[in-house]
Symmetry: none
Subunit: 142 residues, 4 copies
């Protein structure tokens, strides 16, 4: 199970990456392997439901066991499946990059981070930087 | 009405088929003709909401009276209809193969089985194997 | 994490207990610690949504970290809290006995079982018998 | 508008208060005045949906413009109103102490904090300590 201390390290490093790179304001959601929120932050200037996009990237990844870059590919190839899966999992599934599974060195799933606010590629880069800072392994779905 | 004994025979045979064939971990949902869950199992290693995909295949089939392979064809040809039907039936309808109607020898509807975890074709093959083992008739929608 | 083999042992023993004791038809839902369905069965003769009651007992227990007998006590003393919690957790929380947390010998939460169909006390007794048969520890909330 | 820096100060001080006082593991949700999540953390050991209870305390407070201690009083005196309001606001309203409005020195609403995990009185005390540490004004609804 992802600890709060690990999640705080991931969050701080993701925010630091975004600050250095000059990203737009981000919402960042970190879920544990149960799909429960562990840590969430919205930077100043994020729009009303930006957090729900971040949550949807993370939740979709945990729900389907796939980084959201893989879900993005499915959405392009088989949109009806992603539509259906979104409904089936309860509505929170955003199939664009930026939802990254968090694994330990053995490959066990600890949780996922979802970031939204800048481009999807930049969102994902901040997620990957955060996970690396905690000594854990990113699974972007690439 | 599908009996629990019949559902258990279907489930065991579907799992045996998957084991022999080396499928990825499956979630398997069996509904009766009312759409009520009769039997459900998730193998070890399935992702958080894999079961909801299996349920959506089975529920969509019972809801529309069509094996999910037929719903897949509709999703490709008239996606707006499947979108609308998904909403109309409450959100649980997954239009890809693997949701198979269970009929008796006279053609009467007893229920449906939905399987998710491997390819859609493999999911469907496990469902068909399970139904055959119970001496019942598969309607995949092909 | 609760294994399917453990869940099958619990289910079989709960059904055997109910059969020996002459209980009415039961719906039995076993969730893992993520709140995901692991195993479910509805005996012949259960009403259309009996399964949802069983699921609500199990889900409420995992959601709140309390056996449903404890939630029953809260419902009697502070009904507004249980009403609010039911909404907050998404609607599936049934605060009567028969939702039992499944723990290992160290006390770690593996999941929960919810049973509905006979009296709440009998439902709970079947759950406890099932968990004991798997060599695991019941937490009824008493 | 509540800033992320203010929310971080509130969160840290609330967690420090809980640590010193020996509270059970808490979930803490901080919303801005729009009801959007600003910051959220769940300590290790919180149950699956404990976060939803914390969110419901904070959301109910912002939704109705009342600290949740006031909503608790309403729930005791006019339960039908709180039931109806819970539905009307979309399901997330938990009418027990621990949902505290955050105001600036002029009385303007900045947001709310909701805490769940220990007794309601202790949850509220941690919230009040957090708000004080940020130099802001608590409105518990007392």
């Amino acid at each position: 199970m992802l600890t709060l201390a690990q999640a705080q390290t991931i969050m701080s490093a993701a925010l630091a990456h975004a600050g250095t790179a000059g990203f737009k304001p981000l919402a960042i959601a970190i879920l544990d392997s149960r799909g429960a929120q562990k840590l969430f932050a919205a930077q100043d200037g994020t729009s009303l439901k930006r957090g729900e996009i971040a949550l949807g990237k993370a939740h979709g990844a945990v729900a389907m066991g796939l980084g959201s870059r893989a879900l993005h590919k499915v959405a392009l190839e088989r949109p009806y499946f992603v539509d259906a899966a979104t409904h089936a999992v309860g509505g929170s599934l955003v199939p664009v990059p930026g939802g990254v599974l968090i694994r330990d060195a053995s490959g066990a799933l600890l949780g996922a981070i979802g970031i939204s606010g800048d481009t999807s590629d930049n969102d994902e880069a901040a997620a990957v930087a955060g996970i690396a800072a905690a000594g854990l392994v990113s699974d972007t779905g690439a």
